[in-house]
Symmetry: D2
C-alpha cells in the first residue's frame, strides 16, 4: 500500500529512518513550468534543524537536501521531484541499550508488534526526523501558493499551562529551559493559518478540506488533537453565536465572524483557514522510567542522548509544510470540478 | 476523483442528496463468506432516524435499506455490496425560499462557489442525511469486527456548557428542550471507544490509525475538533505524567495508564482506542438571521421546517459507524504487513 | 480495495450480479454544470440489449436506467451520479444444474477458489451483463467529450477467420448464424478510434494513455489481446518504416503516417487514437463438454439457456464506453499539469 | 497525481531522467521480515546494462544501486525501501542538436506539448532508462515470490519477420547486427510466463489479473501490443476449440489445455500465466529523417550517439520485473479476500 504517500494531485512519498543512510521523498504531480528557489527550501529546513538552542536535541545534522530529478534548468518539468537528505550524525551505538527495551509512549512496541522487526536506532521510521521530507515538499508547495498570494502562517499559542496569542522564540526558550532543568518535557498547541485562502477548495463527502487537514496534522509525531475554527469551544456555543453572518463587502461575499475557521461543509469560503494542533509532551524524558523489554521483563529505563524538551519550536515548519501541501493539493483538484 | 469513497481495503462509496430520489452506497472489499444480519443494519439506521423526540427534525423517513448486490443466500461473496435508501418525505417546495439565499454556516455558499450550481433542497449533498450510507457500512463492519470481539462504543460527554462522564437519553432530551424553546441550537462532544482493539493496526507514515480516524470523524457534518487519548489536555502535561508505563500482565504487554488513547506512533498498542469529537451547534436556528442572497443582496432569513437542536443523539451511530469502518479497514490492511 | 472502481478524475464504481436485484454504478468526479441527455444514455444501452437478433442471447431485459443522484434539473452538480438497472428476466432456476459444475473457460472455478463462495446464477459477478454500468458512464463521458468535438468510433474488423475494414451488421449476422447452427461460438477483433483526440493527454510513467486504455479494454469480458497503432505488426517492422514523420500543416504539428496510433511516450500527439481489441469465442457453446464439479468429479456439461454466439455486436458499445471514460479522465487530469 | 506509482499492495514510485543526477524508486508495502539478497538485484540490473554487445547502446553506466532505507540488518522492515542509481555517463551536450527538434516517434513532441517544457537530454523522463527502478523492484518481488516457488520466465519469440519458440542470445545478436549495418532498427515480441502461479489472484471487476498485467506491460517503452493465452489468435477460434477442459489430477483441479493463459474471469486458475508483448522498432534509426523543430520548421534529423537496434534483449528483465511486481501485488491483495 502506498501508506507513505500523502496527497492526491500534489503528492509526496517519503522514505527513510532516523539512523539509516538517508531520508527523502518523491513529489509527484508538481505542476510544470515553475521556477523553484532552492534557498527557500533550505531556509525551511534550517528552521527545523536541531541544536539551535539549549532545549533542542544536540544532534548535528547539516540537513542538506539534494534534488535528484524533476527539474530542468531550475524549472519544474511535471515529472517527479525526488530528493535525499543524508543522515550524517547517526550513531546507532547510542541506541544499543534500548535495542530490546520499549520506551514508554514511543512507537518501539507497536512497530515491533506490527512488523515483527524494527530498526531501533533513533526510533527508526517512527522518528520525527522522518518528517523532514514533508518540510521540503511544503517549501515547494509554499512557493507555488505564493504565486497566488496564498500564505501559510503559524503561532505557538500554548506550552504546558501557559497560553498566549503567540509566544516569541525567547518566550519559548525561557519556558522550555525550566522543563529541561527538571529533566522533563512538556506539551504544546500550535495554531496554523492559511491566509488569502481561495474560495471553493475541498472535496466532499470524504475529502473535506478540514478532514484532510486533520489527517495531515495528526500524522505529525506527538499530535493528539486537531480543531478548526472554534473547534472544541464550539461545543459550548449556541447556533446564534457560532453562526457566521454573510455580507457583501463590495467585491465579494464574506462572513463577519470566522467561527467556522474558513471552511463550511468541507469547502473553503475564502476567509482565513484557522486551525490548532495539540501535541503531547515528547516522551523522551531524562528521568528514570519503568517499562518492559521485548520479553516482558521489567526494566528501568534511563534515556540518554540528544532530545528536545518540546515539539515546539521545531514542529512549526512541519505544520506549515503540511498545510501548504494540503492547500495546494485542493487548489489543483478544483481544476477538475468543471470542464 | 473518488472523493466520495472512504477506506482502503474496506471501502465505501456514497451518493445521494437530501431530497433526491435516493441516497445509498457501494461497499467494496467486504471479505467473503460472512453471514450478515440485516436486522442489525436496520437497528443502527433506526438509531439515526429523525422524529424520535421533540428536539429532533420531524422529517418522516422510513429509512428502509434495500441491498442490491454482493450477497448470496445472506452471505457476502467478496463482490461489491450496493444499497439504496429512498427519500420519501422530501418536499423540495419547503426550500424554495432559500433557493437563492445562503444560510449562515451552512454549505450553501461554498457549494455554489465551487460548482457554480447546487441542489438547494434540504442542503442537497451537504445534508447530514447523506451520511446515512456510512451507518449502513458501519453496521456491516461492526458485525465483522464482532467476530473478533472488537466492539465500538460511544458516549455524549458534553452538551453546551454541561459536561458528564456520559449523559443518558433523558438528560440529553432535557438539556436540548431548553434550547429548542429558545429557538436556538447547541454544540456537543461525543466520546468514542474501540474496545478490545487489536495490537499493530494503523499504517504509518501517512495512514496512522488516529490520523485516519480524525479524517473519518472530521468528515461528519458539524465536526470541528478531534482528539485522541489526552488530546488537547496533553498540551498541558509533562512527559513524566503523560507517558504510559509498560508492564507485563502475565499474558501480554500492557500500559498502566492510557494517556495515549490506544495508539503510539500511529499504530494501536492493544489498549482501548479512546477519542473525542467536538461538534458545533447546528446552524439551522429558528431565530431571524442576517445574510445575503446569491447576488450579494442583504436578506433576513427565517428558517422554517424540521431541524434538530443538536447533532446528538443522532450523530452517535455515525461516529460508531466511522470508527468501525476505520478499524476494520486497518484489520484487513495488517494482513499485508507480512507474507 | 476499490477494485470495482475505474478511473482517476472521472471514476466509475460498479456493482451487481447477473441475476441479483440490480446492477448499477456511481460516477464520481463528473464535472459540474453539464446538461445531460438521458435519451443518449438509453440509446447506448439499447445497442447492448440482448435479443435483437437470432445470434444473441434471448434474455429479455428492458435495461431501464434510473438516475438516483448527482443531477439537478437535468444538470450535473459535481456530486456522485448513481444509477441502477433492475434485473428483470432473471431466472435463477435456469442455473441450478451448473450450481456445482465448473463451465470450461468461464469464471466459475476461479471465483469459487478465490472467495470460497460464488453466486452461480448467470455467472454472477463474472457475467458480461455486469459491464452495463460502464455503458451508462461511457454515454455520459461521450456527451462531455462531444462538447470538445471528441468522438469515439468503432468497427468490427475480424470474426473468426474473416477480416474486413469494417463489417456491416448484416455481415456480422450472416457470419454468426453459421456458428449458431453448429452450436458453436467464435472470436472477433474490434477496432476503436478516438477521433479529434486532444494533444498532450496521458500521464507517464505508469498511467500512459495506451496502458490505461489496454487496462480498460482487457477488463471487458472475453478480451484476450490489445494493440495500439501498428500493434503486433510493429514487431515485424523496421524503424525507418514505422516512424511517423512530423510536419507542419499550417496550423499545427502533425504526423504524415499514424503507425503510433496517436500516442507517443504514453501521451497523445493529436492524431486519431487507433486500437484493436481481440476477443476469444464466448465459452458457452451448446455442444457437450467434459468438465468437473466442485468436488473434482468428472461431468459432461450441456449448457442450456440464452447465449450469444460472439461478443460482437454487443461488445461494441462497451469498447466505446471504456474508451470514452479513459479519454475524458485524461482530459480532466491534464488540467493539473500546469498551474 | 501519483502517476509514477505502480501497484496497490506492493507499490513502486519511480523518479529520474536519463541524464539527470540519478534515477531511482521507493517501494512501499514490501512485507516485513524478508532477508533480501542484494546480489540478485545487481544481477537483474546487469542483464539490462548497455554496452554488452555491438547492437546495444554503448553508453557506459555502472548502474550501481544504493539502498537507502527500509532494511535492517539485511531484512525488510515493512517501511519504504528507497534506492538510487546515479547517472554517470550522461553527456547532455550530446543532445544539444536535438534540443529544439522533435525526433520522429519519440516522446519529445508530446512531452513538450503536455508540459510546455522538457528535459531533452537523452529523452529525459521518456527514456527507457527510467524503467531501471522497475528492474530493482522486480528483483525484490522475484525473491519474495521464490519463497512460494513462483518463478517468472521470458523468451524472445519474434524479431522482425523471424519467429521462433525462443531465440538464443547468439541468434538475437546475429539478427540484430544485420539491422545495425543498415543503420536501421527492428521490432520484436517477447513472451512472459509466470510459472507455478497461485490460484485465485486478480481482482475483478477492474483489476483483473490480465488487465493489470497489460497495463504494466504497455507502460514499457515501445510496447504496442499485449495478449494473454491465445490472444489475437483467439479471435480466429471457435469456442469448442478454445475452451479449456477441466479435470482433476488427483491433487487439484486443472485444465487440459491452456488457451486461457492461466486467467479466467480476471482471476488466475493455477495454470501457467502466459502472455506476449509486442514492441515497435526503436525509433532512433541512424538514417536521415524528415521532421520539424519546435517552431514547426522543417528539419532533417541525423541521430548521433549510442542507441540499441532493438528493445531485445535489454527489455527482457523489464518484462519479468513488471510481471513479478504484478504477481506479488495480487498475492498480497488476496489476503484481504477473506477474514
Amino acid at each position: 500500500m502506498n501508506n507513505n504517500t500523502f496527497g492526491t494531485a500534489f503528492c509526496l512519498t517519503t522514505f527513510g529512518e532516523s539512523h539509516g543512510a538517508a531520508i527523502g521523498g518523491v513529489i509527484d504531480g508538481c505542476p510544470a513550468g515553475i521556477l523553484l528557489d532552492k534557498a527557500l527550501i533550505e531556509k525551511e529546513l534550517s528552521r527545523r534543524k536541531p541544536g539551535q538552542n539549549a532545549t533542542m536535541s544536540t544532534r548535528k545534522e547539516p540537513d542538506e537536501v539534494e534534488l535528484l530529478s524533476g527539474l530542468f534548468e531550475g524549472n519544474t518539468t511535471g515529472t517527479p521531484i525526488a530528493f535525499v537528505i543524508r543522515n550524517k550524525d547517526a550513531k546507532t551505538s547510542d541506541y544499543e541499550n534500548i535495542k530490546d527495551v520499549f520506551r514508554p509512549s514511543h512507537a518501539d512496541f507497536t512497530y515491533q508488534e506490527k512488523y515483527g522487526i524494527r530498526d531501533y536506532a533513533g526510533g527508526g521510521r517512527g522518528s520525527a526526523r522522518t518528517l523532514l521530507p514533508c518540510v521540503v515538499a511544503g517549501a515547494i508547495a509554499k512557493q507555488i501558493l505564493a504565486l497566488q498570494d496564498i500564505e501559510i502562517q503559524s503561532n505557538v499559542i500554548q506550552i504546558g499551562e501557559e497560553r498566549s496569542a503567540g509566544f516569541s522564540n525567547d518566550d519559548i526558550e525561557r519556558i522550555l529551559s525550566r522543563f529541561r532543568e527538571e529533566k522533563d518535557t512538556v506539551g504544546a498547541v500550535v495554531q496554523g493559518i492559511v491566509k488569502n485562502a481561495p474560495v471553493g477548495i475541498g472535496e466532499p463527502a470524504f475529502q473535506k478540506f478540514h478532514a484532510v487537514l486533520a489527517h495531515a496534522m495528526m500524522n505529525i509525531n506527538a499530535a493528539k488533537g486537531f480543531e478548526i475554527g472554534e473547534g472544541f469551544n464550539a461545543a459550548r456555543m449556541r447556533g446564534s453565536e457560532c453562526n457566521d453572518e454573510f455580507y457583501y463587502d463590495g467585491e465579494r461575499i464574506r462572513t463577519r465572524t470566522n467561527h467556522s475557521g474558513g471552511v463550511q461543509g468541507g469547502i473553503t469560503n475564502g476567509e482565513d483557514i484557522v486551525f490548532n494542533v495539540a501535541f503531547k509532551p515528547i516522551p523522551s524524558v531524562m528521568l528514570p522510567q519503568k517499562t518492559v523489554d521485548i520479553h516482558g521483563n521489567e526494566k528501568v529505563l534511563e534515556i540518554q542522548g540528544r532530545h528536545d524538551v518540546c515539539v515546539v519550536p521545531r514542529v512549526i515548519p512541519m505544520i506549515e509544510a503540511m498545510a501548504a501541501m494540503v492547500t495546494l493539493d485542493f487548489v489543483l483538484l478544483k481544476k477538475c470540478n468543471k470542464m
